[in-house]
């Protein structure tokens, strides 16, 4: 397994946000993590990225125990995240934001810029624009592009479709598929469960800090109880 | 007197407590009756009783030098007195005020509690203002050897004495010196807004007008500030013949230095607050050279009457007497004269001070009813070859 989370508990003060989470992501997979608001999806990704401390449990990357490794070092290992809310640096230009993605990398970035501009021609047009003035969709492209600049082994995406128009949503999802096809493993958190499950190979269902289901994505998509609980509103759209 | 450092204390004046006992004069009488304040002597030789003379002033902190000078003068007077095996032994009871007026209450209570019969001090005007009422209430005579704020004598304190001329003598004296002796017709008068500095400068401002000169620039500097360029620009634009500064030595040093840097060539004068070697180090020797400083204190090293004192002081402390040492010595001797004359209670000493006089090494001490000196000379000093040298007195 490339990424393994083993019985992890995370607290916010006295509140236990993750109550013993275990999950695995294999190389080359797209794994989706779905669940209601406040279930702990973002907390899970932040914990994996090392910006939320683990109380008990283990996180392993490529066999190495990274449970207590500082967040910035995990980036060097190949764990990269496009966070919820995009986390664009508002005072930096598109180019500078992309450079932030490659913060610790040495050597030429030309190839990486080309790849990102190739995936998101919009960004190429707006290199000098300041992040804070970009539209929501553009910021999301920038967030994903920036994460790719690190040449991650595992890309963590927290609600990449949030707040986007349906057309843009499908565009983003097809880009994720493309990135995965180019060899990047993806762990995807989504509210937009139908599309996430359509895209993913496997999925976990999270409910108030606990994993309640784990199955191939297609099975969950077909499962009535899952549909009722998480896919209700989206049924029509997914059809 | 010198005021203490700018930041900490404003008007500081050291009051020399009058030490009891006559040093030089009259034959000693046996101690008088009913001196309840006197304690049994542990002291020297033949004495049959003992009293304490307090000291109140800064012995540590930024302004310690002045207090130490005065205390050394006081101790020298007392040790000379004790060497004569007097009937009444006298010891020193000192309080280190650090020059901080907020310590004044503590200091007064300590000395009063220790039953001192008189106090040399407080040293600075600021702490005097705070402490004097306690001594007045306790009926303990207190002689300052250094506090020159005029108002200290105006509070109706019947136990207050001042062993040197006050600022009302110094300010006009300085103005007279600038106008009459140096011939300056246009003068810039600057101060630091402290009660001492502005008080002194205001006396200068009014006296130069009386003397027929013009106050061409009036400005105030922040004694804690470094940049005096706005004041300097005004002075340089007005080109006065002389600048007077009311305040303390460090700001005075900065002012003269920044003036000279901008090409000012006229005379510079400041009061006793600036009469300190640090004035020269702060200004730089070149900038300070030629500056005039005034003080109601006398440089005893120049006084023939003080030769014995100078030698004894050097022998006792390993340094020559410095500012206010002579005044501290004189006021203590006045108190010792009172004790020698048989006065060992605070009230008896107080009466003695009011009705007698004492010729010391710096001057004859004789007090008016408000405790201020009768007469009182203001001495003029000048920085010559990097040394503060006494050059004369102010004209009247």
């Amino acid at each position: 397994m490339l990424l393994e989370v083993d019985d992890v508990h995370v607290f916010y003060g006295a509140v236990e946000a993750l109550k013993g989470i275990s999950l695995q992501v294999a190389k080359g997979e797209i794994v989706a993590l779905i669940g209601a608001n406040g279930a702990g999806k973002t907390t899970t990704l932040k914990m994996i990225s090392g910006v939320r401390p683990v109380k008990t449990g283990k996180v392993r990357f490529d066999g190495q125990d990274i449970t207590h490794m500082p967040g910035h070092k995990r980036v060097d290992l190949g764990l990269c995240q496009a966070p919820e809310g995009r986390g664009i640096f508002p005072g930096m230009t598109v180019v500078e934001n992309l450079e932030m993605g490659a913060f610790n990398r040495k050597g030429s970035l030309t190839e990486d810029f080309d790849r990102v501009y190739d995936l998101f021609p919009r960004l190429a047009e707006r290199r000098k624009q300041v992040g804070g003035t970009m539209s929501g969709g553009e910021q999301q492209m920038l967030a994903i592009g920036r994460a790719l600049m690190a040449r991650p082994e595992v890309l963590l995406l927290d609600e990449p479709s949030m707040g986007l128009a349906p057309k843009l949503v499908s565009q983003i999802f097809s880009i994720i598929r493309q990135i995965n096809a180019q060899g990047t493993t993806v762990l995807l958190v989504e509210q937009n469960a139908v599309q996430a499950l359509t895209l993913a190979h496997r999925a976990y269902v999270l409910e108030i800090g606990k994993i309640v289901r784990s199955a191939p994505a297609a099975d969950l998509l077909a499962d009535d109880s899952v549909r009722a609980a998480y896919l209700g509103g989206d049924l029509g759209a997914s059809a | 007197m010198k005021k203490s450092r700018p930041a900490v204390m404003k008007a500081a004046a050291v009051v020399g407590v009058a030490a009891l006992g006559l040093g030089a004069c009259g034959s000693s009488k046996s101690s008088n009756t009913g001196s309840s304040a006197t304690t049994a002597s542990g002291g020297g030789g033949s004495s049959t009783s003992a009293v304490k003379i307090g000291f109140f002033g800064a012995l540590s902190g930024a302004n310690a030098a002045l207090g130490i000078n005065i205390l050394n003068g006081e101790k020298l007077a007392i040790s000379q007195y004790m060497a004569g095996h007097p009937k009444v032994a006298v010891t020193v009871d000192s309080f280190d005020s650090q020059g901080d007026p907020s310590q004044a209450n503590n200091g007064a209570q300590k000395l009063i509690g220790d039953k001192v019969v008189a106090v040399v001090g407080p040293a600075f005007s600021g702490e005097s203002k705070a402490a004097n009422p306690y001594f007045a209430q306790a009926g303990i005579p207190h002689i300052t050897a250094s506090a020159t704020n005029v108002a200290l004598a105006q509070s109706g304190d019947k136990f207050f004495y001042r062993g040197l001329a006050d600022d009302s003598a110094q300010g006009p004296g300085d103005a007279n010196y600038l106008v009459k002796t140096l011939g300056a017709k246009t003068i810039a008068v600057i101060d630091d807004k402290s009660s001492y500095g502005q008080g002194l400068a205001d006396y200068v401002r009014s006296q130069i007008k009386t003397d027929g000169a013009t106050d061409v620039v009036d400005d105030h500097v922040d004694p804690n500030g470094q940049d005096y360029s706005s004041t300097v620009n005004k002075i340089v634009a007005a080109k006065p013949a002389a600048v007077f500064y009311g305040g303390y030595y460090d700001a005075a040093g900065r002012l003269i230095k920044q003036l000279k840097d901008k090409g000012y060539t006229g005379a510079f004068m400041s009061g006793d607050g600036s009469e300190d070697p640090h004035f020269i180090t702060d200004a730089g020797a070149t900038a300070a050279e030629g500056a005039y400083l005034s003080c109601a204190c006398e440089d005893t090293s120049a006084a023939p009457s003080a030769a014995t004192f100078n030698t004894a002081y050097q022998a006792a402390y390993g340094t020559p007497p410095a500012i206010y040492s002579g005044e501290g010595y004189d006021v203590t001797n006045f108190l010792l004269a009172a004790i020698k004359a048989g006065n060992t209670t605070p009230s008896a000493i107080n009466n003695y001070l009011k009705t007698n006089s004492w010729t010391g090494i710096t001057k004859t001490l004789k007090f008016q009813s408000d405790g201020d000196l009768v007469g009182g000379t203001v001495y003029v000093y000048q920085v010559k070859n990097g040394k503060i040298t006494q050059i004369g007195t102010t004209p009247s």
């Binding site: 090392g50 910035h72 508002p90 500078e96 | 930041a7 470094q226 180090t281």
Partner: protein, 313 residues
């Protein structure tokens, strides 16, 4: 009001104001950088400056350099003074971060706690220098003649003024470029704008904060040596007044904003001198603070806005 003296002293006031203002501006950078990154006021920054003035003065005394120098000796003495000043200030800034801030940050303490910690550190540093060094002013030697190069109106432009203003501007530009163009600068801006995302990008927050203190310390060190050149004396409490002015400059320009510090510093230097010439020297500080309050009433985030976060650094 003395509008006449404002007019007659306009040029000298301007020159003196710009000189003082350039020092304030350099000094203000430390407040602004640390605020930008940590959102807290480093109240001990005035002591970072003080240690700089002390270090420069100390090396001159130690090497017995007390007179006018020329040629290489002058350049060497100035560089040495600057190096010690920057070193002393930078070391103090780093030590403060380590001792007074980092432990609190690790424990997630409030900003108020950090503020108290800074005030405490400030007292400690002052008193250490007061007790173990001196409570009197110590002099910094005049290393070169402050001769007049040319005049602007009635103002003499002297060598020391030129040195101060040029050095300050060069350092400000160097810092601005560092923050705008280097990897270190990007890291600082990233932490200022969004520390968590910065970590997700691989930025080492602790190290970036350390570098921020370091840069602020170096700038304060340059301010300190220029202060020594201008006023030639220092004492344990020397940082207090210019510290307040520099902090005010940072707020006036927009705290967190590097260009704002420059603008704020110059405005405050000039206001002090102009205010003093119009109202009398006793009103110079009042003038500054009245203007500050008025500006903040209309532009609560300062003239250029609170930056590092918003605009480009």
């Amino acid at each position: 009001m003395h509008l006449h003296s404002f007019v007659t002293q306009f040029w000298p006031s301007t020159v003196d104001g710009v000189t003082l203002g350039s020092i304030y501006a350099l000094f203000a950078l430390g407040y602004t950088l640390v605020y930008g990154v940590l959102k807290l006021i480093n109240f001990a920054h005035s002591e970072v400056f003080m240690v700089g003035t002390m270090s420069a003065m100390w090396i001159m005394h130690f090497l017995n350099i007390s007179a006018i120098q020329s040629g290489f000796a002058l350049v060497g003495a100035l560089l040495l003074a600057a190096l010690f000043s920057m070193g002393g200030s930078a070391a103090t800034a780093l030590a403060l971060e380590r001792v007074a801030y980092r432990p609190l940050r690790r424990r997630g303490a409030s900003r108020l706690a950090a503020l108290i910690s800074a005030i405490g550190a400030s007292f400690v540093l002052q008193q250490v220098f007061e007790v173990y060094y001196s409570n009197q002013y110590s002099n910094f030697p005049r290393l070169f003649k402050h001769s007049t190069l040319f005049n602007i109106g009635s103002a003499q432009i002297t060598t020391d003024r030129v040195l101060i203003v040029v050095a300050a501007v060069v350092m400000m530009v160097a810092l601005e470029r560092t923050v705008a163009l280097t990897k270190l600068g990007r890291g600082i801006r990233a932490v200022a704008q969004d520390p968590e995302t910065a970590t997700l990008m691989g930025v080492n927050i602790d190290r970036t904060i350390m570098y921020t203190f370091l840069l602020g310390g170096i700038m304060a060190g340059v301010a300190a040596v220029l202060w020594n050149v201008r006023f030639e004396q220092t004492r344990f409490d020397i940082g207090f007044l210019p510290g307040i002015k520099a902090f005010t400059a940072a707020v006036l320009g927009g705290i967190g904003n590097i260009r704002g510090a420059l603008l704020g510093g110059l405005i405050i230097g000039l206001l002090e001198l102009y205010g003093a010439s119009v109202f009398g020297s006793q009103w110079r500080d009042t003038t500054v603070f009245v203007v500050l309050v008025l500006v903040l009433l209309f532009r609560p985030s300062g003239l250029l806005g609170e930056s590092l976060a918003r605009a480009r650094a």
